[in-house]
Point group: C2
Chain length 200, copies 2
């Protein structure tokens, strides 16, 4: 018989393990930390979790997580409705907002095409995207899916959709990341950086 704590503590430790990157030792440390020093914060976390799991749905326009029918960005009137940036996740929206001067709207796929896992166009909302493209307001789509095999395939699929609607589709540039050292950059990225070289 493996020794254990009390049933309630064991249950708490077990359930903390549903968090990504949390193994048995971290879960134990988290449980004891909350019990020893942060009971109020533990209760607040419990309430936030319950409310979030229940109330957060998806934005009707861009599919990102939102507790309201439209997310905060889709509600902003000051953005350029002619440019739409397509990303894989809500976290990518934040990354683009922080790292670029993009001022259009977003469309969040909540994933990427992956036929082997049974994830087709409708699972990533492309039926909805197609309706939006048909409305004629959008002039350019910036495809900012991840620079992975799946992300690239998804970007190409969407670029074809855009072409069918007579809309310009662009892909974010591949190249060497700023501040990196050439020595440590993989050869595929470096090949892309050479192909995409520009005049100084």
């Amino acid at each position: 018989m493996t020794p254990t704590f009390s049933p309630l503590i064991d249950e708490l430790i077990e359930r903390l393990r549903c968090l990504p990157g949390v193994g048995p030792k971290s879960a134990q440390r988290m449980a004891f930390h909350l019990l020893s020093r942060e009971r109020d914060k533990g209760k607040q976390l419990s309430q936030s979790l319950a409310k979030s799991m229940e109330d957060i749905g998806y934005c009707e326009r861009c599919r990102t997580f939102s507790e309201n029918p439209l997310c905060q960005i889709c509600l902003q009137k000051s953005r350029d409705p002619a440019v739409l940036c397509v990303v894989e996740t809500p976290a990518d929206v934040l990354a683009v907002e922080q790292g670029s001067h993009f001022r259009g709207y977003y469309f969040v796929l909540m994933g990427h095409l992956s036929p082997l896992d049974g994830i087709g166009p409708e699972d990533i909302g492309l039926d909805k995207l197609s309706l939006r493209l048909a409305q004629g307001e959008i002039k350019e789509m910036v495809l900012a899916t991840n620079p992975t095999v799946e992300g690239d395939a998804t970007a190409h699929y969407i670029a074809n959709m855009a072409k069918n609607h007579g809309i310009r589709a662009t892909r974010i540039a591949y190249g060497v990341p700023i501040g990196g050292e050439l020595e440590y950059i993989d050869s595929n990225t470096l090949a892309h950086a050479f192909n995409g070289r520009f005049e100084l």
Copy 2:
């Protein structure tokens, strides 16, 4: 203005940060993981947290965390009441149970003496321990506080208490950990290992 998610998501991310070792990026990852794929587990975690923060108190005998007046180990009749192992935390109880053949009872300090932080004998339950020693059932105390300056000081303090009650006090051995390489062991530990050498 830093871009953010919706207020509810921002709150969830902020509150996940009360967990030890969880920074802003991990908290964001945890929130999106639960929202995307594990809403049921998120709700279960919320319930466990609420119940644990509310219901878990301390064992009346050994001071470890327990939702009942007495913890599971203190309730076991088959243990040897003549030997008491003193440890700093509930996690240490589990470590001793897993790693030794100790079959006595425990006393959990929930910390160690630390005069600079204002933590004195009563804060780690030594008044309670003294009453228990006075009952005369305990013949030996194994002092298994951490091998740190504070843990050692605490062990010495408790050893003096034991002496006053005419009870034998022992300290777990210092030495080289099994499976380690001498090359990487600090000189202080190695000095202790040489002092504590034994006949083969």
